[in-house]
């Protein structure tokens, strides 16, 4: 099974990289972009085949190391 973990700064925590990208898009005349958030994606190949168990395990990984929950949120997708 593959787990895709998306980590990004929490809403309310200023994302300076997102702001810079937004500014660049403006400079390139891409209109209609309201907000930009930059995050990172971590892709894990798991040996676990049970989705529920995998979700529990990957959630633990996120809480312990993959995200810093003081400033970041994470989303897990299993495929």
């Amino acid at each position: 099974m593959t787990a895709i973990v998306n980590v990004s700064l929490k809403a309310g925590v200023l994302d300076s990289q997102g702001k810079a990208v937004h500014h660049a898009l403006d400079s390139l005349h891409f209109e209609g972009v309201e907000d930009v958030r930059v995050g990172k994606q971590i892709v894990l190949q798991l040996t676990e085949t049970d989705k529920e168990k995998a979700m529990v395990e990957v959630t633990k990984m996120c809480e312990e190391i993959l995200a810093n929950t003081v400033i970041e949120d994470y989303k897990i997708e299993l495929i």
Partner: protein
């Protein structure tokens, strides 16, 4: 007095830190991160600056799982004095020994220059040789020095006098190089035995090299 300095792969300020403390009369020992113990006679443990594990994932995120960190946490929880400088500060926040987190600088640039700091609270061994309101000149060198803490956490920091230093101009008015909440440059834990700051006091030990304002900071530990 024995100062123990931690060394992770990517640490690069351990020898500066060692030199600074030895100039002040301390004996020092550099301990590799694989060690599961720290010297029993350690009176101060320093997590030195650098780029532990290449700052992969997040600054300090991987270092917190090094074997030595269990001993560090135990040492801190037993009241041992711990000082994290720059990457060391990042490691200590990641390890949960200090509140808050360090984000990418708002301007996205690595900043390396001398900066003035204002002493906010000197009721701790780190800053006891300075007065509140004093302005010191200490180099900064970081990419991820943008201190963040949520509003409840910030209130708690102020309530317990845990804000140690803020970035300021030469007159002590706030001047923020990196976007830190309330221009915070350094904090301590509630028990005032764990200290962290982004600036490098160990690089401000000789006036001929730009500033010797770091001496009074590091001396605070030696006096105790």
């Amino acid at each position: 007095m024995k100062v123990t300095i931690l060394q992770f792969p990517g640490t690069n300020c351990e020898y500066d830190t060692q030199h600074a403390f030895e100039e002040l009369g301390a004996t020092t020992e550099i301990v590799w991160h694989k060690s599961e113990t720290i010297p029993a006679d350690t009176k101060l443990l320093v997590v030195a600056g650098g780029f532990s594990y290449g700052d992969y994932l997040r600054s300090g995120a991987i270092a917190k799982f090094s074997p030595v960190m269990k001993a560090v946490t135990e040492y801190a929880n037993n009241g041992g004095k711990v000082l994290g400088i720059c990457n060391g500060f990042q490691v200590l926040t990641e390890a949960g020994l200090l509140p808050g987190a360090l984000k990418r600088n708002d301007g996205l640039h690595f900043i390396s220059k001398h900066h003035t700091l204002k002493v906010e609270n000197n009721d701790n061994i780190f800053l006891e040789k300075l007065n509140n309101g004093d302005v010191v000149n200490i180099p900064i060198a970081h990419h991820d020095g943008n201190y963040f803490i949520d509003s409840d956490g910030l209130k708690e920091l102020y309530a317990n006098n845990q804000v140690l230093l803020t970035y300021s101009d030469e007159n002590g008015s706030a001047k923020n190089p990196n976007g830190s909440v309330d221009s915070i440059a350094g904090v301590c834990n509630k028990n005032k035995n764990v200290f962290g700051l982004m600036p490098h006091p160990e690089r401000a030990m000789e006036a001929i090299l730009g500033s010797d304002d770091g001496v009074k900071m590091l001396e605070g530990f030696l006096a105790s």
